[in-house]
């Protein structure tokens, strides 16, 4: 999943203050699942915006809302939002509560409309603890080696992104950068050992071909 967090309300208000018609677009994909920009958060933001505009800027605004199944789906964005975008034609703006891909999909489909990102996109990861702790798990490096590393990604989870770790800073299975964090390579070692595949730990991995992950990346299908 893409892990994201909502921007501070003050920031959103400041970005939106000069508009009279606002369309808040939520996303039930990653953003909705992590309760950052799903249906409920869209409703809340509408309420807060209406109130804050009145109190802080002394004006009434029209706020429309819509929550899409996925905001990174171009066709879905076009068909679902077109009628709503017409309603905010007069001095209007869209606040997107999706990740950067969602924000840009909306902006690409409606290039004349100002789109305000309501969230900061953090990383690809998952919720690893009940109390809302999220961990980065994938860098989208374009060359997955998880089969060889016991399902633990060193490119992402090693602070140095080493392919032949651990480094000399590993201390009793912890990372030198943050001793509260497990060393990814110590985890890989333990897991491969448990799987009886330590030969893979010994395997040398040559330097990465960074062309594979050079931005901006394009995939044309095969």
């Amino acid at each position: 999943m893409i892990v994201l967090k909502q921007k501070p309300l003050d920031w959103i208000l400041e970005a939106a203050r000069n508009y009279d018609n606002i369309l808040i677009v939520g996303c039930n994909g990653c953003s909705g699942i992590y309760q950052v920009g799903g249906e409920k958060q869209v409703k809340n933001l509408k309420m807060v915006l209406e109130m804050a505009f009145k109190i802080r800027f002394g004006k009434n605004i029209n706020v429309e809302t819509c929550t899409l199944l996925r905001q990174c789906d171009r066709d879905l964005v076009a068909s679902s939002l077109r009628p709503l975008v017409k309603r905010i034609k007069e001095n209007g703006a869209i606040i997107s509560l999706a990740c950067g891909a969602g924000v840009q999909t909306v902006s690409n489909v409606f290039p004349k409309v100002v789109v305000i990102p309501g969230c900061d996109t953090l990383f690809v990861g998952m919720r690893t603890k009940e109390l809302g702790e999220f961990n980065e798990l994938c860098r989208a490096c374009g060359e997955c080696i998880l089969f060889e590393t016991g399902g633990i990604c060193p490119v992402t989870r090693c602070a140095k992104g080493l392919l032949n770790g651990p480094c000399g800073g590993m201390r009793e299975g912890k990372c030198e950068v943050d001793p509260t964090r497990d060393c990814a390579w110590a985890l890989i070692y333990e897991r491969l050992k448990a799987q009886g595949r330590l030969d893979l730990f010994l395997k040398f991995r040559p330097p990465r071909d960074h062309r594979v992950s050079a931005s901006p990346r394009v995939w044309r299908g095969e």
Partner: protein, 303 residues
């Protein structure tokens, strides 16, 4: 059998007990100080390591002192190179320069993370790691090409060493890491500080099968604070036996601050004697950054 390019390698293979020492290039433009340290160590060691931005602090490029020590002092250098600050292009070009200047020993290190250093906002590079750097050097030396296979004009004559930590827990993991690099083709190992003779012995037993000369790291301490830093904070973790800690603390209590260093010289020399007597260590690598003047004393006391 690989060709021998350096005095260090010759001595390591000869069975002589080898001493190497370490100096920092420093955040300085003053080469004279480095040359003086080199002169002081010349008659005691086979080679002098010059560290590469140690602890992620930006220092003079170690290639320059490595060259000057060989030229002006007449003692061989071990040019240290980390993967933290340079991508493969920069590392290849530095290695070509080192080969051109007659550097014959290179120690490869991944490098402490930039957050420990004096410019913690820096972008960490790690385009290569210590294993891929060994791989690069082997290609340069054995095949005369760089990583992508581009031909190099002229010969590249390096012996490549790696660092290792005998204190590592779990040790099995450290040994597997070394095995990975042995397969690639390394010439020598210089270890992280060892204070506990049993740690050294176990490590040497485990790496014996690789048949690679090992220089055990010896680090005198000059204060109780430094001792505690090794135990609690040094990346990788260092074990100092309780009785050794007590001896240092007792020296501090009985005779004051300076006595800690004196006691530490004594302890270091004892460790070296024990290593010479009871292990197959090829030698020791003494690290006393900022107080290198103790190195000759330690060596004198140990032999």
């Amino acid at each position: 059998m690989r060709k021998i390019y350096s005095k260090l390698m010759e001595n390591l293979l000869s069975g002589k007990f080898v001493y190497t020492a370490e100096i920092e290039a420093g955040k300085t433009t003053n080469l004279e100080e480095i040359v003086e340290k080199g002169r002081m160590l010349k008659n005691y060691v086979t080679a002098i390591n010059v560290t590469d931005n140690p602890g992620a602090c930006a220092h003079m490029n170690p290639l320059i002192p490595s060259y000057v020590i060989q030229r002006d002092v007449g003692v061989e250098s071990v040019y240290q190179i980390t993967c933290r600050d340079r991508n493969r292009l920069a590392i290849i070009s530095d290695l070509l320069a080192a080969a051109a200047l007659g550097i014959r020993n290179v120690l490869v290190i991944t490098g402490d993370h930039v957050i420990f250093g004096d410019n913690p906002e820096a972008k960490p590079v790690f385009d290569l790691d210590s294993a891929t750097l060994v791989y690069l050097i082997r290609k340069m030396v054995d095949e005369g090409v760089d990583l992508a296979g581009n031909k190099i004009e002229g010969e590249v004559k390096f012996h490549v060493g790696i660092a290792a930590n005998p204190n590592a827990v779990p040790l099995e993991l450290e040994i597997l890491k070394i095995a990975r690099k042995v397969r690639l083709g390394i010439d020598f190992i210089q270890t992280q500080c060892v204070f506990d003779i049993d740690v050294a012995k176990e490590f040497l037993r485990e790496v014996r099968k690789f048949n690679i000369p090992v220089l055990i790291g010896i680090c005198p301490v000059r204060s109780i604070g430094m001792m505690k830093w090794y135990i609690k904070e040094c990346p990788g973790g260092i074990k100092i036996p309780a009785d050794m800690q007590e001896r240092l603390i007792a020296a501090r209590k009985q005779k004051g601050k300076k006595a800690v260093l004196e006691k530490s010289i004594e302890i270091s020399a004892e460790l070296i004697k024990e290593l010479r007597k009871t292990t197959n260590a090829a030698g020791v690598h003494i690290m006393a950054i900022g107080f290198e003047h103790v190195i000759p004393k330690i060596i004198e006391h140990s032999s």
